[in-house]
């Protein structure tokens, strides 16, 4: 997938975009780790708690990406989130099963995150710009 950067939505938003992309590096790592733990989990608790943790981080990305011009990434995060919720609320929630299709979609999402991180042009630091974490 080619990640397009939409034009800034309002003045001053570049600093927040910058912080979002910097934070995305950490967040995609968290999601990947939880997805892997869920996949390898042997108990219902291990699978579901890791999926729930991945969902919480996806929820944050989905909530802000669209407002920062990364609508496509936000939609992808939202779809993965909805898929996890459906699994956790579904008939297989009491089984130690992590659906293969969900793992495939999480893998695509993480790959999209990487593409955005690698192609995003970090702006030159300017006075007043938010400091990246």
């Amino acid at each position: 997938m080619t990640m397009m950067h939409n034009p800034p939505l309002m003045p001053g938003i570049e600093a927040i975009q910058h912080r979002f992309v910097t934070l995305l590096e950490e967040r995609q790592g968290i999601i990947a780790q939880h997805a892997l733990n869920a996949w390898e989990g042997e108990t219902v608790e291990q699978v579901n708690s890791n999926l729930a943790s991945a969902q919480a981080t996806l929820h944050q990305i989905a909530g802000s990406a669209g407002s920062l011009g990364f609508g496509e990434l936000g939609t992808c995060a939202r779809n993965c989130e909805i898929e996890i919720i459906a699994h956790l609320d579904g008939p297989d929630a009491d089984l130690a099963i992590c659906p293969g299709e969900l793992m495939h979609h999480l893998d695509l999402f993480i790959s999209d995150c990487r593409t955005l991180i690698d192609t995003y042009d970090m702006p030159v630091a300017q006075p007043g710009m938010a400091t990246a974490v």
């Binding site: 939505l9 309002m10 003045p11 001053g12 938003i13 600093a15 927040i16 912080r19 979002f20 934070l23 919480a56 929820h59 944050q60 989905a62 909530g63 802000s64 990406a65 669209g66 407002s67 920062l68 609508g71 936000g74 939202r78 989130e81 909805i82 919720i85 938010a130 974490v133």
Partner: protein, 327 residues
């Protein structure tokens, strides 16, 4: 307005600060958790807030619980609360309204929508400040009341506190408009009106009238307690209710039950005179296949039918002596 924004995502807090600072006349204080927000509320150095923006999904304490905690404080009992929700949070919206939310904004934010909601809330804050001044002015200055401080108007949709499932009328309008097609299938709205409310309003002080409205709300709330519903005071002695549960209320039976409870409840004005409010019930209007304005029209129809039932009752009382006579 001074706004407290609460979200566990620092990016959202930065976005909100950026959005709101672009609108003139507002300031934002942020908190990354519900606990931090509660600390801010206790801190006298921070001062009072005019509006809250609360994320629904937060770890430890979520935005719904936080809204409930904010509503428990006297100072913020009717301060507007906008919930920040993702589409996947829709399942929590009902609970948010029941906990005291005024409205909600979906994430990701549309700057125009956010601006419109904040401007609406700003108008609400200004109107409430004027109304609260009026209620408390009459409470302290009575019995020598000046015309300017005459009190709350009969038609004003006053906020009622501490009565279960009673929300603000603005919140009720926002609530019905967000009901999904699936929810509308089982939804019904209905209303009760206090008979001869104009006489109560004319003879009681603003504070006594407000207390009477709250007491009647409590009795109606008790009568509906076995069902899922939300209720709001729409002004003019009328309470509008919405149920989503598929329950089809039998209005006459409900009205009789409420009036029986009112008869058993001892209500007095400040001079110790007994008050005997009774209600009339309007039609139960189903919301199925309605959308947008027609949902609000249905709410209006339920409201109007309850007021008409009051008028019909009063006319029937007046015409009683003429029954069976011909001109």
């Amino acid at each position: 307005m001074k706004i407290l924004a609460v979200d566990d995502d620092p990016i959202i807090l930065e976005l909100l600060t950026q959005f709101v600072s672009a609108l003139e006349g507002h300031t934002v204080v942020t908190a990354e958790s519900a606990m931090e927000a509660l600390e801010r509320l206790k801190d006298p150095a921070v001062g009072e807030f005019d509006c809250f923006l609360l994320d629904i999904q937060m770890p430890k304490m979520d935005g719904i619980t936080l809204a409930g905690r904010i509503r428990e404080t006297v100072r913020y009992a009717d301060t507007p609360i906008l919930m920040l929700t993702a589409m996947s949070d829709k399942r929590y919206i009902d609970a948010a309204f029941a906990a005291g939310a005024t409205d909600y904004v979906t994430k990701p934010f549309d700057p125009l929508e956010l601006k419109a909601r904040i401007n609406l809330v700003d108008g609400l804050v200004k109107a409430r400040q004027a109304r609260t001044r009026k209620i408390f002015a009459t409470k302290t200055l009575s019995p020598q009341v000046t015309p300017l401080e005459k009190g709350v108007e009969l038609h004003e949709p006053i906020s009622i506190f501490d009565v279960e499932n009673v929300i603000d009328f603005t919140a009720m309008e926002n609530y019905v408009q967000q009901l999904s097609r699936g929810s509308l299938f089982g939804s019904t709205c209905f209303a009760f009106s206090i008979r001869e409310v104009g006489q109560f309003h004319g003879s009681l002080s603003s504070f006594e009238f407000y207390s009477l409205i709250s007491d009647v709300a409590e009795v109606i709330s008790d009568a509906l307690s076995d069902h899922q519903y939300l209720m709001a005071y729409a002004g003019n002695g009328t309470f509008v209710c919405v149920t989503e549960s598929g329950w089809r209320p039998e209005m006459t039976r409900l009205m009789d039950g409420i009036n029986l409870s009112l008869a058993r409840t001892e209500l007095f004005d400040n001079n110790g005179a007994s008050l005997k409010p009774r209600v009339s019930a309007g039609e139960a209007v189903r919301l199925i296949w309605k959308s947008g304005q027609s949902i609000l029209d249905a709410l209006g129809h339920a409201h109007a039918s309850a007021e008409k039932a009051c008028k019909d009752f009063e006319n029937a009382q007046n015409d009683f002596w003429y029954l069976g006579r011909s001109a």
